[in-house]
Assembly symmetry: C2
């Protein structure tokens, strides 16, 4: 059994639980459903876990996981330390952990897989399902220069790599419709809790920006951690985004070879350009390059690194300095 560290003081919560945001009803055949009578099922719903601090009233924080991961990445760490969800709620922030539509407890729309099975749809139309090998994750997430070889200064708890590998589950985002339903869901969630800081990471790194572009009313702060890139926004979109405080976060060892996706020097430079565009519109955006603040060694998985509490503290300081306190009326508060 994994080591789980018991905190020194109990956790006191006003409430905890889960709910769903959105979802559409779709009619499916018995073949598509795989069992029973044909009829309606729900697709594209978003599962959201939440914890509310007792007697505090700070701005809600929405923590969105990256590719192949789930909300689990913000729970107990692979080496048993406290995850960001509990850390933020202990600091007085209502915490919302969505599961991306098509992942984990949000489910996915499996109709096409069963249609392929039945010979109704050709196999090559079946959406790809993805997961990184442990070897690939090692360099891609910048734990070290070669699979199994850590950087001397890495902050990632490499001794717990086997526990971390269990968090990785099949990523069905290639099966999602366009536009990605997660953008609307996150926008709706932020609005329903009467304003939230939305935090994205890696695959979901740009989701806070995209949610704000759907509707900026609920997104009070946008934290963009190592997105694939910051490219492609129109001048009009940049003008909209300049209305909201934006923090972009990057770890160390950006030039590690072996990254199959783009969190490297080109992405970093492109996000600096994006920041300059926001600033030129009078907006409030800046880069938090973790080595500048915490010293060397943070990986792509900064919420899992051994100094994850200090990374969280930097985010919290930024929120306190840049995001107005919570508006009234969060129905969960």
């Amino acid at each position: 059994l994994q080591d789980v560290q018991i905190p020194k003081s109990p956790l006191v919560l006003k409430a905890l639980g889960s709910f769903f945001v959105g979802g559409e009803t779709e009619e499916q055949t018995t073949i598509e459903l795989g069992v029973g009578l044909p009829g309606h099922r729900t697709v594209n719903q978003m599962y959201v876990q939440f914890m509310l601090p007792n007697g505090k009233n700070r701005v809600p924080v929405v923590l969105v996981h990256g590719g192949t991961l789930t909300g689990k990445v913000f729970e107990t760490q692979p080496d048993g330390r406290m995850g960001w969800a509990e850390y933020f709620v202990r600091k007085g922030y209502p915490v919302y952990l969505p599961e991306q539509v098509s992942r984990g407890r949000s489910g996915f729309n499996h109709a096409i897989y069963n249609n392929v099975r039945a010979g109704i749809v050709a196999p090559n139309f079946q959406p790809n399902i993805i997961i990184l090998s442990g070897e690939q994750a090692w360099t891609h997430f910048r734990f070290g220069p070669l699979p199994g070889v850590p950087f001397a200064d890495t902050q990632f708890p490499v001794e717990a790599i086997s526990q971390f590998s269990k968090q990785a589950i099949p990523d069905l985002n290639p099966s999602l419709p366009v536009p990605n339903p997660n953008f609307q869901r996150l926008s709706d969630l932020a609005l329903e809790v009467k304003g939230a800081v939305v935090v994205g990471h890696s695959e979901s790194g740009r989701y806070p920006l995209e949610a704000a572009l759907v509707n900026p009313e609920g997104t009070k702060g946008l934290i963009v951690m190592e997105p694939g890139n910051c490219d492609g926004y129109t001048d009009s979109q940049v003008a909209s985004l300049a209305e909201i405080p934006i923090l972009i976060v990057w770890g160390d060892h950006i030039d590690t070879p072996g990254s199959i996706l783009a969190h490297g020097p080109a992405a970093f430079a492109g996000c600096l350009d994006f920041i300059a565009r926001i600033q030129a519109e009078g907006g409030n955006a800046r880069m938090l390059h973790l080595p500048d603040e915490l010293g060397p060694g943070n990986s792509h998985m900064m919420m899992t690194d051994k100094n994850s509490d200090q990374v969280a503290d930097l985010l919290i300081s930024w929120i306190e300095e840049n995001v107005p306190p919570q508006g009234k009326g969060n129905p969960h508060n």
Copy 2:
């Protein structure tokens, strides 16, 4: 946004979080992984959420969800009431919520789906993926005699059916190896927490029995809620199971037509026969038929019904009367 009822008193926990039980490393090709370099990934791990009460030390309770569902079914109810996970922990029980291997946050082994996509495996070898239509669930879960028509006395919160339908996600159990890895995982979990009451439901109804047959050392009590059936155990298996207290639980309206799976009169009668076999071996087993205790109207989803607190109280009374208090040494306590 779903209605969420805020409890009158705060929830005080010694700890909460999640971890994994088991999992095997498997080598997969780039086609199977769907992206990046070939290498190793983890399969058959079981995600487990937990909450530990503050300052209490009762026997841990493991709550296992049924088909197409996840641990979510024990969290906030579709109509916003408190779920069983919080209810049990507020009564002083450490609560463990596993996600069945191949479901939700436990992930699944998608290699064969990508091999079919690539034309390497024939489509008909691709495991079926299942979910019930809302119409099918209505009669199968015995909310009423016809889809959309509730029993006059139903305890299911039918006004929240659209929220309940969002809990249903694709069930990939047909993709699991034999024997079902969930049996070993639950046995290991119960052993690692130094003894637990294991509660199964519907698809997982027999899992407590199966976990005890893998290794009876950790399973201190077995609660079997509306399994498909209780058939097929050998005399030797019955003799083993007779060493552990067993409670079988059934709801009302057992003879509802339209159930595609077997939770009906034949299953109920077969489980009474099983109880008689256990008793003949000197064991402690009994049937808790909910209408006898709580009046009419409980559905197949007794943990979601409007009287779910009262159903939980019946389980808690049974645990207190039949299961020894927790042994020492739960590493999470």
